[in-house]
């Protein structure tokens, strides 16, 4: 049901107590930014493999199941395949580079979100966004969970009433669309109630509660050091070929 596994990622981020979970969100965002910058500028496949492996090791050390996270972060493979076919030059290195970049980038981001509760990540991100976008980011994330539950119930109800059948794709499509339409109406009704609830609770144009961006030096130094090392390696290797 949940193709993007948002619920499980959210669970990992809030339930973990590891050194990586305790590190300040700014340190982890900095690590992720450095990793992604290294990924997009490097042409070295071994460096991409090192960044990917570092994320796997960090996840394992943080007691977040690495294989499950790797599976979630493998989703861009489908999209990269189109670029690999379009850029095919007869070598193995070009596909390896394109796949490596996309997978290392995706794993970096999922590692960040799997070890950092979303309000802390969004709190940082919101600082550089217009107010309405920052506020909507928080509310959207919360709304996804509400709608996922409702969508799950609707699809189950449709299945129970034989609304979804394996050999009738057109009937399925019609029933699924009706379920989505009902979900949309519920979502909008709920959003109107949500506004009233927010108003009653004294909403004053501010949902975000970012918290402290940095923790102690002891917890923050590792992600920062890893990020800077990866970026430095990518820069050195890129301009000293």
């Amino acid at each position: 049901m949940n193709r993007f596994n948002i619920a499980i990622i959210d669970y990992w981020s809030t339930s973990g107590r590891s050194f990586l979970h305790r590190a300040g969100p700014a340190a982890k965002v900095m690590m992720a930014a450095c990793f992604v910058a290294a990924v997009v500028i490097t042409r070295q496949i071994p460096l991409l493999a090192i960044i990917y492996t570092t994320c796997v090791l960090l996840l394992a050390a943080a007691r977040v199941p690495p294989l499950k996270v790797m599976a979630i972060a493998a989703y861009p493979t489908i999209f990269v395949l189109l670029f690999v076919i379009s850029a095919w030059d007869g070598t193995w290195t070009t596909p390896a580079r394109l796949f490596g970049r996309a997978l290392a980038g995706a794993l970096t981001l999922v590692t960040l979100l799997a070890t950092t509760p979303y309000p802390r990540v969004f709190g940082l991100v919101s600082r550089v966004l217009p107010r309405i976008v920052g506020e909507a980011l928080f509310l959207t994330y919360r709304a996804v969970f509400v709608l996922l539950d409702m969508a799950g119930e609707l699809v189950t109800a449709a299945r129970v009433r034989s609304g979804l059948q394996l050999h009738h794709p057109l009937v399925n499509l019609r029933n699924l669309s009706a379920a989505m339409g009902a979900l949309l109406i519920h979502a909008i009704d709920r959003s109107e109630r949500q506004f009233d609830i927010m108003a009653v609770r004294g909403y004053s144009d501010h949902v975000a509660a970012p918290g402290r961006p940095w923790n102690s030096l002891a917890t923050d130094i590792l992600p920062i050091a890893l990020g800077i090392s990866a970026l430095a390696a990518a820069i050195i290797l890129r301009w000293n070929r």
């Binding site: 990924v39 309405i132 669309s177 109406i185």
Partner: protein, 242 residues
């Protein structure tokens, strides 16, 4: 797959940086338009619609990689300004869970945002002539085609031909110098041999079924919504998209 989320590292840095800058400018303008006196009432609708797009993407329509994204539905409900913001939020959240690149959030926002705006515009154009469901379906199909054309255009900008033209015109680099600068096969960044025609054939070939599905689902959803809550899809004067 009705649409494509560009991952990290498959396009040149200058291209995704330009996309990010353009998307940032558009989001800034959209936020200014949307931050009117009715801001607080619009916020939950914006959030729920963006969340609805994400949840819709997680429902497989046919047992394959196909899933809808309902950009046109978002455009019809929210209008172009809030719709662009919804497209940005959806792409940002998806990038954070590994679905599409974080460096390409700007480009992905422009592509999905163009579908949102096109969906809104075509629906407004068609709704007086035909039933709301049909208008929404046609609008969704055209929006998906426009999104695909922009996607192919982005890849065309990254292709060697575009770069050669760019270099010759902007830097006046000679033919010999340019060829001397070309890396050996497999030694370049990976996107230096992108073939626009091959990419276009893949996107159209794989996407066409998805566009039809998207149109069908959008049409059925809007038909349902128009029957139950007509103000939601702009068929009553109560709700006016921004």
């Amino acid at each position: 797959m009705t649409h494509l989320h560009v991952p990290d590292g498959v396009l040149p840095v200058w291209l995704w940086l330009s996309g990010a800058a353009l998307a940032a400018a558009i989001i800034a303008v959209a936020s200014r338009i949307a931050s009117g006196p009715d801001f607080r009432r619009r916020l939950p609708v914006l959030s729920m619609t963006a969340a609805f797009m994400i949840v819709a993407m997680s429902i497989p329509v046919i047992p394959a990689a196909y899933h809808v994204q309902l950009a046109a539905v978002a455009g019809i409900i929210l209008g172009p300004a809030l719709g662009m913001i919804a497209a940005f939020i959806v792409n940002l959240l998806l990038a954070l869970v590994g679905h599409g690149g974080i460096t390409t959030v700007g480009l992905n926002t422009l592509i999905v945002g163009s579908e949102v705006v096109a969906g809104w515009a075509f629906f407004r154009l068609f709704r007086a002539a035909v039933a709301p469901g049909v208008a929404a379906g046609a609008a969704a199909f055209l929006a998906m085609v426009i999104g695909a054309v922009i996607m192919i255009g982005v890849v065309a900008l990254a292709s060697p031909q575009a770069r050669t033209l760019h270099l010759h015109e902007m830097l006046a680099v000679g033919e010999t110098e340019h060829h001397a600068a070309q890396p050996e096969p497999g030694a370049g960044p990976g996107y230096e041999n992108l073939s626009t025609s091959r990419f276009a054939a893949l996107v159209v070939g794989l996407g066409a079924v998805g566009w039809l599905l998207e149109a069908l689902v959008t049409g059925l959803i809007v038909r349902f919504a128009a029957g139950v809550k007509p103000d939601l899809v702009g068929l009553a004067a109560v709700h006016e998209p921004v």
